[in-house]
Symmetry: C2
Subunit: 687 residues, 2 copies
C-alpha cells in the first residue's frame, strides 16, 4: 500500500520524501515541474498562478475512506498571460507530464500579483502627465522619488472595458522616506495599462485638493521617541510550553484534542482547511470537508467619481495567499509555534517561497466549564485550550489577521482582526466630508467602507448528504390568555428547511437571533432525537450597503445576501468568478450563475453553504495613523452532534464531590502552580 502511494509520485519524489497528501499544496518542485512541462510546449510566458487543482470530491471521499486506493492524480492549475496579453487557463498532469487543458480566454483578467503591483509606481514616477499632476498638487517635480502609489485593479470602468489589463494608482506623497504616505494622499488617479506598461489616462477631480501641509503623523520608533517615548510600565508576560505542544503534525495534518485537520494553502484563499474530523470516543466523525475564506469585497461609500471604483476583492483580485506575511516568532505569535511555508510561482516561472506563512499554536482559553453546588460547595473548574491556525495578509494599506480556532468543546471559530492603515483621500482645509468619510487627520479623508467576507463552508456532518435549516427564535403562537400560550411566555426555535436553492438565499435577522444549522437528517441524536448538526452563529452580518444595480452589487453577487446554499460542484470555488479583475458584473459571475436554477434541490444532498459577514467601518481619528486591531468572529458549534459535552475528559484544575467535601477526603487539586498572588499596593511585584 505504502508502495502504491510512493509509486504514483516517483516522478517528483525520490529517496525518503513521502508522497504529498492529495490536499497538500503543490511543492516548489511540483511548481517547477509544471513550468518545465509548459515551457517545452509553449515557450516563454508570464505566470500568474500555479496551484493545486484539488482532486474531485467524489474521488477524494473514496480515498479518504480507504487510503489503500491509489492516490488521486496531482494536477497543477495554471494561469498564464501569453505574449499579447492573452490569458490562458491550463491544467498540467504532474504524473504523466502532460498538459491536459490549455484554454485561451477572452475579455478576462486574472488577479494582480505583487510583481504586477510593484511596476506601476515606477512607471508613475516617470510619466510626464503624472509629474504634471504632482506639481499641480504641490509636489515639486524633483520630488518624484517621494511619490508613491497603491496600485489597485481598476475594478471596472466602462470607459476601458475588460480587454486591456488595467490598474488604478491611488497616489500618495512621503515628505521623508520614513513618513507614512497615507497622511499625504494626492487627489488624482492615474490609470496604468499593464500591456503597454504606461499610464493611459488620469482621473482628475473637478475640485482640486493640494497635498496636505500638516506635519507627518507617524508610528515608527523615532516618531514615538520624539513625542516622549514608549510607556515603560508594561511588564513581560511569559508564555512557555516546557513539555512542548499538545498537537502532532504529520505532513500537513494536525492532530489535536480529538480534532484532525489538513492545513492547505493557496494563492487566493490563503488557508484552506480540509477533512476536518473529530474522534468521538474512537469513532472518527467527519464534520467539514473544506473550510476557507473564498472571497471578500470592500466597497467604499463615497459616491464621487472615481471612488465608486474602490471596492477591492482582496482575495479574487490580489490573493490572500499571495499577500501573506512571513510571520515571526515572538511577534505575531507567542508560545511554541509550528510554521508552514507557502510555495508559489513568480512571473518568470520560478518557484518562490513565503517562509512561515502559516502559524499553528495553542493558547490557554480560560474557563472551559465550572460549577459549584451552592449547598455543599462541591465544585469543578476545568480550563480550556484552543488551537489556532492563522495567517496574516497585507492588502496594500490594510492587514487582515485570520485565525481559525479549534476548541475542545467541538466548536470551530473564525476570528478576523482588521488592522493596518485606512485607505485615505485628500481633502481641503475646512472641506465638508458630506458624511461619506471622516477627517481623521488634517487633510486626510478616510472614506466609509465595508469589509464583507465570504466564508465557504462545505459541510460533511457525518457524511456529505446534509440539509441546511434556518433557525429563528420565535414567540409561541397564541395571545396571552389563550389555551396554547396561557401566560404568553412560550417561545421556540422555528426551523425552516431549505429544500431548494431559491429558498436558501437569505439575510441575517438580528431580531430573531437567526442562525443556520447544517444537519445530517439521516442521523438523529439518540437523546434529543434531532438531526446531528453544526450551527453557524454569526452576529456581524451587515447587508451590502451599495444599492441594487450599483457596480459593486453587480460584481459581488455573493454579497447581496448573508447566506446562499448550492449543490456541491467541484468547479464552484470562487463566488465572484475565477478571474475577478475588470468583470463588469454583466452578467454577474460566480454566485448569481450558480443559483440561477432556483429549483435545484439542496435537501439531503452534498451542499455548500456560503456565508457573507463582516463589518461596516466609519473611520475615526483613533484608527489613524495605524489602526488598533478590530476583531470580528463567528462560530460553528456542534448541536445535537454529540451525546454530551465532549470535553468532560479534559483534566480539571480542581474537582471535589459532595462526599469528598463531607468526608474532608482527598479532592483533585491540579491548580497551575506558576500563578502568583500580587502583593497588594506594590503593583510591580509578586510574592
Amino acid at each position: 500500500m505504502a508502495l502504491d502511494r510512493l509509486k504514483s509520485v516517483t516522478q517528483h519524489f525520490t529517496g525518503n520524501t513521502p508522497p504529498p497528501h492529495p490536499f497538500d499544496p503543490l511543492s516548489n518542485a511540483e511548481i517547477e515541474s509544471a513550468v518545465s512541462i509548459i515551457r517545452k510546449e509553449h515557450g516563454k510566458l508570464h505566470y500568474n498562478a500555479i496551484t493545486l487543482k484539488e482532486p474531485p470530491k467524489k474521488e477524494m471521499l473514496k480515498w479518504l475512506e480507504n487510503q489503500k486506493l491509489p492516490l488521486p492524480t496531482r494536477i497543477a492549475d495554471v494561469v498564464v498571460i501569453a505574449p499579447g496579453g492573452k490569458v490562458v487557463d491550463g491544467w498540467v498532469n504532474l504524473q504523466t507530464g502532460k498538459i491536459i487543458k490549455w484554454e485561451s480566454l477572452d475579455g478576462v483578467q486574472p488577479l494582480i500579483t505583487m510583481e504586477d503591483l510593484q511596476i506601476v509606481e515606477h512607471v508613475c514616477r516617470k510619466d510626464p502627465k503624472v509629474i504634471e499632476q504632482c506639481v499641480i498638487s504641490g509636489v515639486p517635480a524633483e520630488d518624484m522619488h517621494k511619490v508613491f502609489c497603491d496600485p489597485w485593479t481598476i475594478g471596472y470602468d466602462h470607459r476601458f472595458g475588460s480587454d486591456v489589463r488595467l490598474q488604478q494608482a491611488l497616489m500618495y506623497y512621503r515628505p521623508h522616506i520614513d513618513d507614512s504616505q497615507y497622511s499625504f494622499p494626492l487627489d488624482f488617479c492615474p490609470i496604468f495599462d499593464a500591456g503597454k506598461r504606461e499610464i493611459i489616462h488620469i482621473d482628475i477631480p473637478e475640485i482640486r485638493r493640494p497635498v496636505s501641509k500638516a506635519k507627518p503623523n507617524n508610528y515608527h520608533v523615532d516618531a514615538i521617541q520624539k513625542e516622549g517615548g514608549y510607556r515603560k510600565d508594561t511588564k513581560p508576560i511569559n508564555i512557555t510550553q516546557p513539555e512542548g505542544v499538545s498537537f502532532k503534525v504529520e505532513g500537513r495534518v494536525i492532530d489535536w484534542q480529538n480534532w484532525k485537520v489538513h492545513v492547505g494553502f493557496n494563492y487566493k484563499e490563503g488557508i484552506v482547511l480540509n477533512n476536518i474530523t473529530y474522534n468521538d470516543k474512537g469513532t472518527v466523525r467527519p464534520i467539514f470537508y473544506r473550510l476557507s475564506l473564498a472571497e471578500m469585497v470592500v466597497p467604499y461609500g463615497n459616491p464621487e467619481h472615481p471612488h465608486q471604483r474602490k471596492h477591492a476583492f482582496d482575495l479574487g483580485e490580489y490573493g490572500g495567499g499571495y499577500m501573506t506575511n512571513s510571520l515571526s516568532l515572538g511577534c505575531d505569535c507567542k508560545g511554541a509555534i509550528h510554521y508552514m511555508d507557502a510555495a508559489f510561482v513568480n512571473r518568470a516561472g520560478d518557484s518562490t517561497t513565503i517562509k512561515n506563512a502559516i502559524c499553528i499554536h495553542e493558547e490557554d482559553a480560560g474557563i472551559l466549564f465550572k460549577h459549584t453546588d451552592f449547598r455543599d460547595d462541591s465544585c469543578i473548574v476545568t480550563r480550556g485550550r484552543k488551537l489556532i491556525i492563522s495567517h496574516i495578509f497585507t492588502a496594500a494599506n490594510y492587514e487582515y489577521c485570520v485565525y481559525w480556532i479549534f476548541h475542545q468543546d467541538g466548536t470551530v471559530q473564525l476570528e478576523i482582526k482588521l488592522t493596518g492603515i485606512l485607505n485615505t483621500y485628500a481633502m481641503n482645509p475646512g472641506e465638508d466630508t458630506k458624511g461619506w468619510g471622516t477627517e481623521v487627520y488634517p487633510g486626510v479623508n478616510a472614506h466609509n467602507h465595508q469589509h464583507l467576507f465570504c466564508l465557504r463552508i462545505d459541510p460533511n456532518i457525518d457524511g456529505p448528504n446534509n440539509t441546511i435549516f434556518q433557525v429563528d427564535a420565535t414567540p409561541g403562537a397564541g395571545a396571552v390568555g389563550s389555551k396554547e400560550n396561557p401566560f404568553g411566555n412560550a417561545f421556540y426555535a422555528e426551523r425552516t428547511k431549505y429544500t431548494k436553492v431559491k429558498q436558501a438565499t437569505s439575510d441575517y435577522n438580528g431580531a430573531t437571533s437567526r442562525t443556520w444549522d447544517m444537519c445530517n437528517t439521516n442521523k438523529l441524536n439518540p437523546y434529543s432525537h434531532k438531526p446531528v448538526s453544526y450551527k453557524l452563529v454569526s452576529r456581524e452580518v451587515p447587508g451590502l450597503l451599495p444599492k441594487e444595480g450599483s457596480l459593486v452589487w453587480k460584481r459581488a453577487g455573493f454579497a447581496r445576501h448573508a447566506v446562499h446554499v448550492t449543490q456541491y460542484d467541484d468547479k464552484q470555488l470562487y463566488p465572484a468568478g475565477r478571474h475577478v479583475p475588470q468583470t463588469s458584473g454583466e452578467p454577474s459571475k460566480g454566485m448569481p450563475e450558480w443559483i440561477a436554477n432556483g429549483e435545484a434541490s439542496i435537501e439531503n444532498t452534498d451542499v455548500v453553504l456560503w456565508h457573507t459577514f463582516g463589518i461596516t467601518h466609519f473611520p475615526a481619528p483613533e484608527d489613524f495613523p495605524i489602526m488598533p486591531a478590530e476583531p470580528m468572529t463567528l462560530l460553528l458549534r456542534p448541536r445535537n452532534f454529540f451525546v454530551r459535552n465532549p470535553a468532560l475528559d479534559v483534566p480539571p484544575s480542581y474537582c471535589s464531590t459532595p462526599s469528598q467535601i463531607a468526608g474532608k477526603s482527598q479532592v483533585l487539586d491540579a491548580a497551575d502552580k506558576m500563578s502568583k498572588l500580587v502583593v497588594t499596593g506594590s503593583g510591580a511585584e509578586c510574592c
Copy 2:
C-alpha cells in the same frame, strides 16, 4: 488635607488604616458598626442586606474634582425583615451613628439570600406531602436525604400575591451522594412560606413524570475515570510574570496603562466600576462615572403551568454579589493575580467575607496593530495587553463569569461566559417536548430560555453632560444614476439624536448594524469635528420573546427594549425595582416608571444608558451534564474621543522603517525570546 480625610472617619478607622474611598464598599467593621447602631434602637432583626449607599453624584463629582474637600458621608443602606415579616428600608449614617431613615414597606419582598435558600431543602425533606409526592415519583420515603431542591423565589403567582414571602422548590433526586441531581428532576413543585417555614402548597402537573431510571450522567473524577479517564495529551502552558504586573493598586483604585478605575462591589450587582478615566498625554479625562450589570432576567419558554414562573432575576432576586464564588489561584485565573474580598452581613447581623471575590489580572491580547509596507518591507508589529476585572457567580444551577476588560486602545469590553448546568425538568420516555425544550439526556427536558442582562452605563464623556445618538449604517439617498448617487455606492452613518426619553426607547437593528454613541456635544474632535464619544457596539441583542402582557414582560420592563435612556437620578439603580421578588408587574417597577415622562429632556445633560443584551438558548445534549462556557461580549469603543490611536506608545515587538531596511541599519527587534519553534513532526517537543 490628609488630616481632614482622616478626621471624618476616625469613628471607624484608627491607627494607620487609611480612610475608605467614598466608592469603597462597606468594610466588615462598617457593617458591624451599622448593625450595632440598629440593634440598639430596634433589637433583634433578620438582616437581608447592608451595603454602601453611594454618595450623591453631584457631591461626588465635586469631591472627585477636588479631593481636598471633606469626604462624603459614609451611609449604610440597610434592608431588614422585622418580626412578623415586615420589611424595612433604612439608612444609617456611620459618621454620626444615627439612623437617618427607617421605612416600613408593605407588599414588598427583598431578595432571597443564600441562607434563605438553604432552609427550604431541609423543610421539604420532612414535609409529609412532599414525601408523598416523592413516593409517587418513585423515590422511596427512606430516600428523602437524597432529595434536593433549588429554591427559587416564586417570581409571582397571583394565587399568593406579594405579602407572604414565598419560594418555589425545583425538585431533584440524587441516587448517590456524588451524582448530579440535574439528571433526575422531579415533576412537582412545592411552595415554601418563609414566614411560617413550611410548605403551603404543591403544584402537581396533570401528566405525571416519574423520576428517570437512566443511569447517572456525571462529570466528576470518578465518573470520568470509569469511562476511560482523562486525556493525557494536554501539555502545560505556563503563564508567568517574573517582573510582576503592570498595574498599581491604591486601595481599590487600579491604575493601568493610562486607565484608572475604582473597583466596587455590592451584593446585587457584584462588580461596580466607578470613575473610569484615561490619562490622555497628561490630561485625565473622565469616560464613565459608573458601569455595572444592574439586572438580568432569565425567562423560560415552556408555556405549561407552573413553568411560566421560571424567569429568575438573578441579580435583583438573589444578588450577583451574594452568589459570588471565592476564586482560586491557577484555576479561575492564571498569571499574577490581585484579589479583592467582599464583605456582607448575614441574617443574624454578623459581618461575613467572601475571600477572593474579585480577580484582577493581565493577559496577552495578541496583535494590537500591525502593518507592512509591501514595497519596502518596513513593518511594525505591536502586541497588546488587557486588564481583566472579573467575578463569577453561581445562580443555583448556572454559572455566570463576568469579565470587565480594559484594552490599551481605549476600549472597554464586557465579556460574559455562561457555564454551569442547565435547569432541567422531568419528561417521560417518548414524550414530545413540543419544541419548548430539548431532551438532553433520557428523561431530562432542558427548557428553552433567554439570558437578558441589563448593563447600566453612566457615561461621563469629558464631563457629565452627554447626549446619546443612535447610529445606523444606511445607503445614500438617490437611485443608481441619480445626481447625488450616480453609481449607487453611497452609504453613511445615519445619526439620530435622542432628545427626549421617549425617543430613546429603541431596539437593536442587525440590518443597519445599529450602535449607540454616547457623546459630549460640547467638545468636538479637533480633526474630525465630530463630538467626542464612546460607542456601544453590541451584537447579541435578542428581543424579549415572551409577549406583551405576559408576566415576565410586566415584571422585567427593562427587557422590553435594547436601549433606554434616562436623566440621571441617584435613586435609579435597579431597573426591575429595588425589591424584585414577588412583584406582580402591576404597576411595573423600575424602568417603566422612570420613562413614564417621555417628554423629559435627555439632551446635553447627565444621562444614563440602559442596555439589554444577551442570548437565547435552545439547549442541546452538548450542554449536558455541564455546559461548555458560552461566551458573549460587547464593546465600548472610543470614537472621535482621541486625536489618534492612543496605543502608539506601547512598545512594539518589531519595528523597521524604509530607511532602516534600505540602509540595513539597526531595526527595533524586541520579539519575545521565550517563544520556541516546534520541531516538525515531533509534536510534543520544542527545539
